[in-house]
Symmetry: C2
Subunit: 458 residues, 2 copies
Amino acid sequence: MMAPVEINNILEDVRVALERDDVDLAKLLLDNLTPAKAETTLAEAIGDLDLAEQTELLPQLDWAEAADVLEYLDEDEAAEIARQLPVETLSEVLNEMEPDEAADILLDLDLEQANAVLDTMDVERADLVRPLMKHDDDTAGGRMTTKMPILRRWMSVNQAIAYLRHRSIDDDDHYYLYVVDRDQQLIGVIGLRELIIASPNVTIGTIMNREVIQVSVDVDQRECAQLISRYELFSLPVVDKVGKLVGVITHDDLVEVIEDEATEDLYGLANVSTDSDLDVFSPTSVMIRKRLPWLFLNLCTAFFASFVISRFEATIAEVAVLAVFQSIVAGLGGNSGTQTLAIIIRGIALGQLELRQSRPTVLREIGLAIVHGICIGICVGLIAWLWKGIPMLGVVITLAVIGNFIIAATAGTLVPLTLRKLGMDPALASSIFLTATTDSLGFAFFLGLATYFLPYLK
Amino acid sequence: MMAPVEINNILEDVRVALERDDVDLAKLLLDNLTPAKAETTLAEAIGDLDLAEQTELLPQLDWAEAADVLEYLDEDEAAEIARQLPVETLSEVLNEMEPDEAADILLDLDLEQANAVLDTMDVERADLVRPLMKHDDDTAGGRMTTKMPILRRWMSVNQAIAYLRHRSIDDDDHYYLYVVDRDQQLIGVIGLRELIIASPNVTIGTIMNREVIQVSVDVDQRECAQLISRYELFSLPVVDKVGKLVGVITHDDLVEVIEDEATEDLYGLANVSTDSDLDVFSPTSVMIRKRLPWLFLNLCTAFFASFVISRFEATIAEVAVLAVFQSIVAGLGGNSGTQTLAIIIRGIALGQLELRQSRPTVLREIGLAIVHGICIGICVGLIAWLWKGIPMLGVVITLAVIGNFIIAATAGTLVPLTLRKLGMDPALASSIFLTATTDSLGFAFFLGLATYFLPYLK
């Protein structure tokens, strides 16, 4: 990898210059790079500074540079800086940004500040941004850009190319060009390659593809991600209730959508709020807000499991060795269930579980749980027997492990599938519900069986 | 979402027809769709059948259709079908496939069968496929296609367009066109849009972008995914040791690379083999092979934790109530550490932790652990005290929770960062090492403190 290494070196120099408040040197260093890279590098360097430095530095850049920096930064970070900027500065910067990114930043401000900024912005730009602010961040409407080339079916290939030539050069890259009729209804799509190789005088209507994969504005980004990967799309057009083309999710947003969904699934499994904006750069206050409540929830389920154990305190007082093994049954069950959960959540994310009915999957996971449970259970049982010299301890622990594995597989499949049926995020809370189940029932199986066979354990 | 719903209906009909072995009806239904969709729909329908039916059906399709189906299916599934097909049939089908996908399938066959197929294939196609089989599946070389348009700097825009027009229409979509010199050295890149809007007689050399983000054949796909999302690339060129352009990771593979990396991280966190080919469609034998060993590993760490508990059996025999609370300390620590792990793994995956040094991140996670530990620890302590009426039990449990949270944060950051420094997959085994630590030390802290303060607990 040659280019990135070189970039990282220059980035280091830029960083040092910025730390010395030497904006001119930093810009000089960046001028040696091509524009596309200079933007990214500048943004990376500025992203590393603290908030006060960032707020001081941003107004010294020209508006377009500042816009690139804000687009590059995380939503949380960008919003924090935006809040500190004077209305006039912020309006100028937002004028230069992609409308969808500008809308995201405005949505993170107070209503009052947002309105003041919108009133100060270019009227034309503000009109592009305002409709985007109506849509939820996680929907197709919230992700789309409204600034895209639009073709008409009567255009000749030559006219279409002339039209593209007249559009501003700093637009997003559009590989697919969408075709609308006089009522703005989406009626076709054509790739740049098809356009480039077509004869110049053919009309768009005769070469366009009439089957367009499209989404409505209120569709969740999770579904968008599934369509994108299922049909290997370069971009995804967004239509309103009556089929009018209102925007496009472009390639850069599309990669983000896929990554955000993956982040949310990973966070869901780890009991962190399924919020893809959360990352190593997030402010500490945000970190606490997104993580502490889940620890409290975990506390509740842990106490519930403890309550189950406490029902068997008398048994444990008689055979203290049970306390040594109780966690093994609960822990192994949780682990086995988490495996199931990961496979199911990924299957939902990639749209695989939409293709086939879920019943065979549930049944197979239960079958696997029985196989795994027998292998692991017998192994645990043998070790327990040999270690403590109590054969019945081995039997009890083997049965408890098998039972808990079956419960784990059932919960690991049914919880995410049910959440999805209810239209909720399948990763959210699946994991905590699963461990609550495997812990409580794991302890109940093991200690319950132990109580039943108590005479043989002493 | 209009189009996909319609597709699902047709898909259902196709499925029913295939179940009745009525291939002709199935094909008739599919003919009503445009080619691109028919391929996907046919593949989806066939993907739902069992192996015997798939193997029977595939030779009845024409070669190009069969190739599309194999490309659509999972690698494991495709390989299983391929193994059952006669050498001649398979060669014809592979002739129609993308060379990178054909190479993947051949790599999954016996060496003997693979060589027989390669010898029967079109000489020209086999020559495209052979070099791809040298590269590991998870590297840039394993992911790239070698069939891409290549421009020269002396070409005029008109010549470049004429060249594109003469290339086969069923190629992959290429948005970026790469430029090489007479030694095949990669020297520039130009987007289709730039080409389309340039004046026809300008030469490529004057309008191409000379800074090309590129990777070498042996670069891990994880790094490719980071570059793709950091620079929002449509495709990524692959060069050999001396800078010769040997292939391109195209858009469809690129989305797959990002998704595969996300899958591997999720599986890593859930203690499943970090193998993105594993999914709800995988054969049961593969499922067991990828999951059971991790359960055995978990068994070892669980026994290690039990061994820690067993050191304190005498204490538990005196105060059985300790058995009720020991799992809370271990469980909460594990949960808190998993949160840290998820944030760090995601930060590594998105390349964020490359941009900033990891020390501040580690320190902040430890700081967060102290804050979270105090909040949760005091809460647990109060409940324990009020529930059992033993004040010292509250103190012991609070201290143990805070201590275990700090350990969890340290392990949750250092383990994945260290694995990455060693060039290993940071998600792999991080999770099991983390819970081994939080379980063992959680029990040790809690039961150790309890033993020390034993007189106050009775």
